[in-house]
Amino acid sequence: MNQSTSTVINTILTVALRNLLAHRRRTFLTIGAIAVGLASLIFLWGFNEGLHRNMLGNFQDAIIGSIQIHHQGFFQHPELSKAIANPQKVVEALRQADVSRYSMRLESFGLAASDITTQGVMLIGMDPLREGEVTQLGKRIGIGRFLAPEDEYTLILGATTANNLQVKLGDEVIIIGYDRFGAMLAESFTLIGIITSGEMGLDKGMAITTLATLQEMVDMTDRITTVVISSEEKRVPSLTAELEAALQGDELEVMPWYSMFPVMKEWVTLHNGFLYLFLGVVLFIVLAGELNTMLISMLERTREFGVLMAIGTTGYQIAGILLVEAVVIGIVGILSGILLGYVIVLFSSNYGIDLSILLGSTSRFYVDPLIYPHLKLDHLGITSGVILIASIFAGLYPAWRASMLQPVEAIRNG
């Protein structure tokens, strides 16, 4: 029984494969259409992923890092009274989680004043030695230089703020702040660097000095409000959970970048949504194309199927022939599509895709002009799987119709 079943299956497979080979041009055109459709999807996914990685990476690198830890409620209402009570405990938790790339900050609201005018700013005290571990802010200083460890009362402003204040390098800027009890303080700073990123969020509203200077100014030696952590994108959710667990009951908030700036995450989701839409369109084209091929192939062979049924082939076996053909076309199309797409992504990720031709300036969206596509396995899997399912569906209808043929009519009319 088993032996004979496999003989029958082999025979059905042979009929199907011979038919595919007998109509080489049609078969390969259909396979080619699937391959090109899939390859373009793979490339788009790769490009999209490369763009997102670049954008999110730049966004986090700019100033916020991957995860921040503050006292509960500090992110919503930054006040010096909400300093982290026990920074040592946070450092210990980070050591436990095997995180080495972190930096401490002291952050507060303040005013920057020149002779001309005053601007509201976020005062940030950064550790010049450790900041490079978590952000690339130093690279965005277009004029002047970044903070040095020995600096005292030096200041970095964004280009817009500096412009509004009409100050230039070496000029004096007065910073007005409040201590943790709400008492007003003022100090004189020297402007040493100007951020020229083109990004509104960076070029406006920040005044950056060394951690030690700000701690001294507000009389909070060794106190901090913020721990900034840099992590691999993949690890962010699990690391967040891990740190939350470790710091439970300490009145701290552990915030991944996407909790602080959900818009960025939503933008990525929206962008991926467009790709799913595109996947749907390609899917429809593949389905329609293969369905068309299979229907033509089925109608062409109506008489032959009638004869096969007359001499003892069952409807299921006839359906099997067409399904095998559809699935073989699908699988070969998918394999060549993956190969083609992979080669394109590999090639373009080596050289990068220059967006500046297309967009002029891209820096506004934290995007570098050169994008390096990156292929994610789950995207590849979803896309290939969905196209495989589409090719099965493309075979189902013709297979069902063929299996319903009446031999006498099929032979007469076929």
Partner: protein, 279 residues
């Protein structure tokens, strides 16, 4: 099941079949009774539209009837579902069609082997059976050609080999010579007749070809879905003068010459076949 049914390979009683196109009835068979005994070489003749194909299709479990009894090989085929009919056809009936109808993408050998494989025989065994039957229909040397590389007569021989390969009790052939020139058709009919004699396979052939009617062991004439005449020849032993040379209208001298020619051919064939197997 009665005794008379047991001795018949085909047993039809009161067979009615009417086609409907919309509300228009097209009567095809009209109370038809027929018994065919095992080993008969029966030809159904009749004008176009007289119901020949319909009769063969019903006997071949390809179509249903409106009323009546149809027993083929003692089995009530009207009571079978479509799956059972397919199985029944596969194991009991060989078909030869008017338009050859071979699988285009298969070689002659694979076409013949196909039914054996469907029956569950191994590929190797099926191919051996196919070779055997291709030799029997005298085209053993063409086994590796595809249908489009064969003449009409050769294709029809492949079809006959395919019909025999499943080892059926009954072969149904609907106008098997209609697409062939008369010479080729005559050869084909002679071949089928010979196979009928040698293997005892029952043949039911529809045709309006006079050559086919000549060869008939029994001629069933249909008109308007009814049998109007059923003439029967006494079955004769194989290789006899009259059986091997059915052209009864020819003068005796010519019949003898033809007979001797056939004997020679068949001897030559056997020798050829033997040589091929050896080489």
């Amino acid at each position: 099941m009665g005794n008379n049914q047991d001795s018949s390979i085909i047993y039809l009683r009161g067979l009615h079949k009417c086609y409907w196109v919309g509300t228009m009835p097209f009567p095809a068979l009209h109370g038809l009774d027929l018994d065919i005994a095992p080993g008969e070489f029966a030809v159904v003749a009749g004008r176009s539209g007289s119901g020949k194909s319909t009769l063969l299709n019903i006997v071949g479990a390809l179509e249903s009837a409106d009323s009546g009894r149809v027993e083929v090989l003692g089995q009530d085929i009207l009571g079978m579902n479509s799956e059972q009919r397919t199985r029944f056809r596969l194991h009991n009936i060989g078909f030869v069609f008017q338009a050859y109808n071979l699988i285009r993408v298969f070689t002659a050998r694979e076409n013949v082997a196909y039914v054996c494989q469907l029956q569950g025989k191994s590929r190797k065994e099926s191919m051996e059976i196919a070779n055997h039957w291709l030799h029997e229909v005298e085209i053993g040397h063409l086994g590796y050609r595809r249908p489009d590389q064969l003449s009409g007569g050769q294709q029809q021989r492949v079809a006959v080999a395919r019909a025999l390969a499943s080892n059926p009790k009954l072969i149904l052939a609907d106008e098997p010579t209609a697409n062939l020139d008369s010479m080729t058709g005559r050869h084909l009919i002679r071949l089928m007749h010979e196979l009928n004699h040698r293997f005892g396979t029952t043949f039911l052939i529809s045709s309006h070809d006079p050559d086919v009617k000549q060869a008939a062991g029994r001629l069933i004439k249909l008109a308007d879905g009814q049998i109007v005449e059923s003439w029967e020849e006494v079955p004769e032993p194989p290789q006899s003068l009259s059986a091997s040379c059915p052209a009864n209208h020819l003068p005796l001298g010519e019949r003898v010459r033809n007979y001797i020619k056939t004997r020679k051919q068949s001897r030559a064939r056997k020798r050829r076949g033997g040589n091929q197997r050896r080489s």
